[in-house]
């Protein structure tokens, strides 16, 4: 069990999330991709904690989870608010602000 594999896996997950944010249209799905990125970071943190033999990384992962939960609350509120108005959660429909 080489820890490097976990780093590669987390980098892959992070990239998948980043690509998802860029290509998906639905705001909820975009947001889920951001969450995937945060969880990839968690995997990186605990892997490095294992490699370095310290606990800091694991503690940090808890902080990230708390922050992610808070972000969900705020994010879903905002997306719900615009969904109720527009009846659509597509990020392409939100195009009034330009130029």
């Amino acid at each position: 069990m080489t820890p490097t594999y976990y780093l590669l896996l987390s980098a892959l997950l992070f990239s998948l999330g980043a690509v998802g944010v860029l290509v998906r249209r639905n705001a909820i799905v975009v947001f889920m991709c951001v969450e995937l990125m945060l969880n990839a970071v968690n995997l990186t943190l605990v892997t490095f904690a294992r490699i370095n033999g310290g606990l800091d990384g694991q503690v940090m992962a808890f902080f990230v989870m708390v922050v992610a939960a808070a972000e969900v609350v705020v994010g879903l509120t905002i997306i719900m608010a615009i969904f109720k108005t527009r009846r659509s959660a597509s990020v392409d429909d939100s195009n009034l602000l330009k130029y």
């Binding site: 808070a70 972000e71 108005t85």
Partner: protein, 527 residues
Amino acid sequence: MTTFLSQVERLPAPEIDYGAVAPLLIVLGAACISVLFEAFLPKAQRWASQVVLTLLTLAAAGVGLAVYASAESTLEQGKLTLSGTIAVDRPVIFLWATLLLLGLGAVLLIADRSVEPGGAFVADASILPGTKAGVKMQTRELATRREMQTEVFPLTLFALGGMMVFVASNDLLTMFIALEVLSLPLYLMCGLARRRRLLSQEAAVKYFLLGAFASAFFLYGVALLYGFAGSVKLSDIASATTATDRSDTLLYAGFGLLIVGLLFKASVGPFHAWTPDVYQGSPTPVTAFMAACTKVAAFGGILRVLYGAFERSSWEWSGVLWGVAIASMVIGAVLGLTQTDVKRMIAYSSVAHAGFLLIGAISLNDQGLSGTMFYLLAYGFTTIAAFGVVTLVRNSDGEATHLSQWAGLAKRSPVVAAVFTFLLLALAGLPLTSGFVGKFVVFAAAVEAQMVPLVVIALVASAVAAFFYLRVIVLMYFSEPAVDGPTVSVPGAFTTVAITLGAAITLVLGVYPSFALEWAGAGVFIF
């Protein structure tokens, strides 16, 4: 169980220097009290009590800061507290004072209820915009209900507290938490506009999605730097960069991702995409708060990270940040030329200003540090006053932000036009305004750091940017006012105070900047 517990080493409680962190505790504590006000006070009393509480909080935090700054004799060295996660040194005290003052200006604009009857914020954030008028507004009676969502006050205080932690944080985890504490309330505040609800909600969605995306980058950078240095303390990362046995890949990838997150918050250069949309869509007082305070916090964080952790590896990354600074100035100046909306124009101007600020930050010398902080102070007040003026020019639909509606404004209201002209000249950086002094000290620091080509590009960019400021001035003074043009509201006490404060400080810092420069240059970061 008991045997296990007895074997566990007691975690030492971190030492807290309550005097040093008092402003933080006051602001965040008051934010919690403010939430309780929302929960338990009847609706009729909320606005008054929230305004009083918020203003008292800012005053108390300012007093706490002043007491600490004047009493401490060993202040030159600064102080690390909360087991080294918060540093209270000279630059941090300067930035905290700047944030509190700018926060005061923004809160005054937020609290104003005379310009727009009931305030710039919607009575209830969950109401639906009218379907018939669609984009423009919700139904009339909702738009004119004389209440506002007073949750904006606790949100402001939380954001301000997050900003204060952000500039003082001495390790990257604290910085990340502070980043979220300052961002999450701002996302919500963007969506609270009374008029043009849909634009406001759209701004909130855009800011939220892009902001969450950027903080994920920031966080991945933190994780990679943790892998690189085995710690997220800035000083540990700095000492790890001098060791030879570490992975350069982790360092540069980590630094790159981290700095992308920070540059996004500061709306620098190619990471500015959200700025014009969010500045335009948000309620104008919130835009003022974001433009002034977020800029201070983000650049405070950038300065701290660059000086604390990456100063010794600057040879490797300075080229990239040169490119970013150039891109930012060019994008801001050129795209600013094409804007037709005054809020978007100021947004692009803020992108250009972010480029100038970045020049100061990457100079990595003492003048660069003090110059950047002075620039932040000067720019913040000019922007708050400018957005304050924007709230005054209105027609029946709310604020008239389209530039064509500003034609001939000097004939309708000479005073407002004169103040706005002065502020635009300050943004352009003409002498006798704070903008000139700010640019001068930043460019001087860059020349000192042998970045002459960058300064030349910056001067060209400021000349281009000056053109679009002057265009507005010409429009206000030398065009005939439209027949159905907007009216200029008589500002209430709060807005008057905010605009006067901003304009006065812009003038004072332009004529007599030495005292502020002295404060800004009084000490250096400690780590």
